[in-house]
């Protein structure tokens, strides 16, 4: 056990920070820091800037066009991006779908989908959840039936983030309705294909990022199935395991804390001792979670059954909600005012820095639900590690 941090990471952070200062347009950063859902225009523009620098896929292996960073560098990069206010990029495509394609896909599939994703030319949506398969994802019922050189897909996907901007959707579908987890496959669907209908879902922050997707006799080529038929559950699980060290959303939490402090100093709320104590408590939480993330990165190599991903998920998501609540409080009476997305005039009243606080706070109720609800995570900890 040696716990000193290698100074090379500080140097790396400086390098990223310096680049962001030059490359990120100020108006784009200002929009992002309001914390509304990113617009497609900002996302496209930023994706192109990242691609030109060669930093579009920070966690990608070098052979597929990644910069060859280690996990901690990836997190530092994301932290700096969040703090600077870069628009959200295609998270589903870069972090969830791409690793499945490069791990289980054929060379042809890799060629077909990885370069356009990296270049910022194609966008992806994720089709896992269904109206009747939320936490119990394995009970999904969307069917894919082989018909010659094609699969015919029928079913409904829900909570598909930003699929209204997407060109492609990666889905978990049933190819063997008799088996449960074993009958699931990982397929790619053209979002613009006949039979695909997208219905917007407006969240309680009055924003639109979520959708319901109806798949009605949608046809895909047979080689749009990744890996082997009926093995998709394992691919999905592997991908979530790969992501577990990032479960506490440290970059987003850091940005939220930084914004909270800025807000509270501007409104004067920070002078209130009781309020400052609660901010301090949240900060202590974040500093412990950050180090737990480093432990998760190290223990991944060790292959233990220690449920660090679940612990990170629970505490990271709860912290995000706590920080959001403190932001609303920091606004005092203006915490209750609705500022519509894109509002720029001086009505409704209140500090400009408060725009987006309430919308973000509302939407983030979802963080303790998605990615396996916190109740599911507690059960995982109890069963897998504590053997209860």
């Amino acid at each position: 056990m040696k716990l000193q941090i290698d100074p090379k990471y500080d140097a790396f952070r400086e390098e990223v920070r310096a680049w962001l200062k030059e490359a990120l347009p100020a108006d784009m950063a200002a929009r992002t820091l309001q914390c509304y859902h990113t617009t497609i225009e900002d996302r496209r523009a930023w994706s192109k800037i990242l691609a030109a620098k060669g930093w579009a896929g920070p966690a990608w292996p070098k052979q597929y066009g990644g910069p060859g960073w280690d996990e901690w560098q990836v997190m530092i990069f994301e932290e700096e991006c969040y703090l600077a206010g870069t628009p959200m990029v295609d998270e589903a495509g870069f972090k969830l779908c791409a690793p499945v394609i490069w791990t289980f896909g054929t060379d042809e599939q890799k060629q077909r989908w990885l370069p356009p994703l990296l270049a910022g030319d194609q966008y992806w949506g994720q089709g896992f959840s269904e109206p009747n398969a939320g936490s119990d994802l394995a009970s999904l019922s969307t069917r894919a039936v082989r018909d010659g050189d094609e699969y015919v897909i029928n079913g409904t996907k829900i909570w598909t983030t930003d699929v209204h901007y997407a060109d492609l959707i990666f889905c978990l579908v049933k190819t063997d309705p008799e088996a449960k987890q074993r009958g699931i496959s990982f397929v790619i669907v053209d979002a613009k294909a006949p039979g695909v209908t997208i219905r917007p879902i407006i969240d309680i922050g009055e924003g639109h990022s979520l959708n319901e997707v109806f798949l009605d006799n949608v046809r895909i080529p047979a080689d749009w199935l990744i890996g082997e038929e009926n093995k998709g559950w394992g691919y999905g699980k592997l991908l979530l395991d790969n992501e577990r060290a990032y479960s506490a959303e440290i970059p987003r939490n850091k940005r939220t804390l930084a914004r909270l402090k800025k807000l509270a100093h501007e409104t004067g709320m920070i002078e209130d001792e009781g309020f400052a104590l609660r901010v301090a408590e949240a900060e202590a939480d974040l500093s412990a979670l950050e180090f737990m993330t480093l432990r998760a990165m190290a223990e991944k190599a060790g292959g233990t059954n220690f449920p660090v991903g679940s612990i990170l998920k629970i505490r990271g998501s709860e912290l995000l909600q706590k920080l959001g609540g403190l932001q609303v409080e920091a606004l005092g009476p203006y915490g209750a005012v609705v500022y519509p997305h894109g509002a720029t005039n001086d009505m409704p009243p209140g500090p400009a820095i408060g725009h987006g606080v309430l919308a973000d706070f509302m939407y983030r109720r979802a963080v303790t639900i998605y990615g396996g609800s916190n109740e599911i995570q507690r059960t995982i900890i109890a069963k897998s590690y504590l053997e209860l």
Partner: protein, 370 residues
């Protein structure tokens, strides 16, 4: 950075665990706790095994380790709720002595590591309220000390005291604090011993013109270093105690039956235990962070340590309380182990500046724009 234990660290951990299993079972400890709270035989073993110098370089009489090694040892001691003053002597006083840079102090460290003498730090005062620089005990120009020190843990078993005393300035100034070595039986030193909640022993010590040897004219940095090391070791002890309390509770609810089922089948209790593990691991993470940054500049270190103490206090109270709750009635009996974990964990929150007092340090830094 590497979280896995190396060969020497594994050896330390295993040797303490083996000793504890053989010599420090719950009944043995309980007899010691209601006795005088200390065993000379145990202390000799600690010295022979090199544990008193686990965190010291070889030239200081140690095993060539550092803060990590000491913390590994403390975690194992925490699992069995060690009564002997390992932390006050081998960590707090030792690191404070090293922090003075005084030649005599350095020789004393070697004697402590060899088990030849025991020294504790007499620094806390009733009105300090968690402020490390609070010293109203005074030292005159002739070196005579006047004042009262409180909660001097381990003093009943010590032969010498390091006493902080003010030579100039106001009660909470960081400058003007001198450190003296005073023999425990020196004229003008009066000691009253008492028991703490967890069975360890402490003393109230008054000084009336007592004379000592000056080892630091400006000693705040040495105090700060001593308490920094003490705090991380306290956290390591806490992690050990929480972990053991958690597993004792886990084993208990797998056997205890109510309503025709063992308790572990109730989801509400499964989730409570998941929260206990989560709290414990939050402290372990904060501990690792503080350990890795123990040698950074003092201002940054203070904030890291404050964050650690906040987390430690919160976790210790939660895990201790839930460990009793999940046991039910037996948890509040003196003859069963889990209540004693609760006692130690409660004590851990309050000692060396409480969690609440450290939270104020963090809040003030945030208010100042940190």
């Amino acid at each position: 950075m590497d979280f896995a234990l190396d060969e020497m660290q594994t050896m330390i951990k295993d040797s303490v665990a083996r000793w504890a299993e053989k010599e420090y079972d719950f009944e043995t400890r309980r007899k010691l706790a209601v006795g005088n709270g200390f065993s000379e035989e145990h202390w000799r073993t600690f010295a022979e095994m090199g544990w008193l110098g686990a965190g010291l370089s070889e030239e200081d009489g140690g095993l060539g380790g550092g803060a990590e090694e000491s913390a590994i040892l403390a975690e194992e001691f925490g699992k069995v709720l060690l009564l002997e003053p390992y932390l006050p002597v081998a960590v707090l006083a030792t690191q404070c002595l090293l922090g003075t840079g005084h030649a005599g102090a350095r020789e004393l460290v070697q004697a402590i590591a060899a088990g030849e003498t025991r020294v504790v730090l007499a620094h806390e005062e009733v009105k300090a309220m968690g402020v490390l620089s609070h010293v109203s005990t005074s030292a005159g120009s002739d070196g005579s000390i006047n004042g009262v020190k409180t909660l001097v843990i381990g003093a009943p078993f010590a032969s010498k005291l390091i006493v902080s005393a003010r030579t100039s300035g106001e009660a909470r100034d960081q400058s003007g604090i001198a450190l003296y070595l005073v023999a425990i039986d020196a004229p003008g030193v009066e000691r009253k011993d008492y028991r703490l909640a967890d069975g360890t022993r402490a003393s109230e010590i008054s000084f009336r013109g007592a004379k000592g040897e000056l080892i630091a004219a400006d000693g705040f940095a040495a105090l700060d270093r001593g308490y920094a090391h003490a705090l991380v070791n306290l956290a390591a002890e806490g992690v050990g105690a929480m972990e053991r309390a958690m597993w004792i509770t886990r084993d208990y609810i797998k056997t205890r039956k109510q309503f025709g089922r063992t308790l572990n089948e109730f989801q509400v209790l499964q989730h409570r235990m998941a929260d206990m593990l989560t709290e414990l691991e939050m402290t372990r993470s904060a501990l690792y962070r503080a350990l890795g940054q123990l040698d950074t500049d003092p201002a940054k270190r203070r904030l890291n340590l404050a964050a650690l103490k906040v987390q430690l206090g919160k976790s210790a109270r939660f895990v201790g309380a839930q460990a009793i709750q999940l046991h039910g009635g037996i948890g509040v009996t003196e003859e069963y182990s889990i209540g004693h974990y609760f006692k130690r964990l409660t004590f851990i929150d309050s000692v060396y500046g409480s969690g609440a007092q450290h939270l104020k340090i963090l809040a003030k830094a945030i208010q100042a724009g940190n």
